[in-house]
Amino acid sequence: MKNNRYIVIVGCGRLGSHLANHLSRSGNSVVVIDKNEPTFNDLSPDFSGFRVHGDATQMAVLKEAKVNQADILIATTHEDNVNLMVAQVAQGIFRVPHVLARVFDPKRMEVYAQLGIDTICPTSVAAEMFLQAVANGAAGRKGANP
């Protein structure tokens, strides 16, 4: 995996700041966008990327973050609709080759999968892991106590 990509991360909450710190540390050029400036405090001291303060649903803000040059855009805000809109704009208008959006609502995810937007649904991922743990736990107990 090359480590000198230009990556735009929208939303600097727990997930966004974690990704930004990690990707910046591994040598990528990272830009973080958030409309609440204090969230930038979650970036680690060795974060070497840029911070853009603004609402990513506005074209002007995406242009300021030079989304047109990005290799990857990851939309991680806590609002599904913001992530979906930003992902579509990045993919459809700025032609970003790789776009990912966090979407909490599994029903919304289906529709956007049809539109060719790559989404990650924390709800489905967590549910699957819980279900697996429950199944394994049940199997384990059965194994221990036949």
Binding site: D80, M85, G92, I93, R108, E110, V111
Partner: protein
């Protein structure tokens, strides 16, 4: 015709009232329980309380059989997603999204959702009125292929004092109504035109300029 409107505030209220008065079946989706109670008391519309970008709420509101959906919330991202869900998941034939940020009107169009910006519409109306006080574009009909325009004739107008049949009117134009002292007249060739008359014209975009010139004497 069944219309779904997602939004809040006065725009939502007056639009719904307007549509209901025209005999449309209106369903409102609004997130605020108190506003929903008020709306259901004031309007004949059905009110569904919830997030319009949630597929279950759209389903409850009967999106499946709706003829049109209007998303006019204050958040552009919500308006976009609401329209996309409505057209993709529920096959609503016509959806329109409000672009609060005027730049987003084009973004929506590029993403396949018809969008409009109130800022732009009001802005261009003000410009038109400010530059040509005597001319009012009433409404574009047929997706803008027909213009309905109102002109107030001043004393310098080349048509004042003439009979309608003597006016050299370009093709594909019609004087639909003359309003004189607040009395509307549907004119025939033998009617004359006087200063102060308000003339309602029907034109096509290609002859709009020449027709205005014929009535005002000014170049457009």
């Amino acid at each position: 015709m069944k219309v779904l409107i997602v939004g809040s505030g006065k725009t939502l209220y007056f639009l719904s009232r307007n549509f209901s008065a025209r005999g449309y079946q209106v369903v409102i989706i609004n997130r605020n329980p108190e506003e929903c109670i008020q709306l259901s008391r004031q309007l004949t519309a059905t009110v569904v309380c919830g997030d319009g970008s949630d597929a279950d709420i759209l389903k409850d509101a009967g999106a499946m059989g709706a003829d049109a959906l209007l998303a006019i919330t204050p958040n552009d991202q919500d308006n976009l997603v609401i329209c996309q869900l409505a057209s993709r998941k529920f096959s609503v034939p016509r959806t329109v999204a409000l672009a609060n940020d005027p730049d987003n009107a084009e973004v929506f169009e590029k993403l396949g959702v018809p969008g409009f910006s109130i800022t732009r519409i009001v802005g261009s109306l003000i410009e038109q009125r400010a530059s040509l006080e005597q001319i009012t574009n009433l409404l574009p009909v047929g997706e803008g292929r027909v213009n309905v325009t109102e002109i107030v004739l001043d004393a310098d107008s080349p048509v004042v004092g003439k009979l309608l049949k003597d006016i050299d009117l370009p093709e594909n134009a019609l004087v639909a109504v003359v309003i004189r002292d607040s009395n509307p007249i549907v004119p025939r060739g033998a009617n004359d035109l006087l200063a102060g008359d308000r003339v309602v014209l029907i034109t096509l975009p290609e002859n709009h300029g020449p027709v205005l010139k014929a009535f005002t004497g000014e170049q457009f």
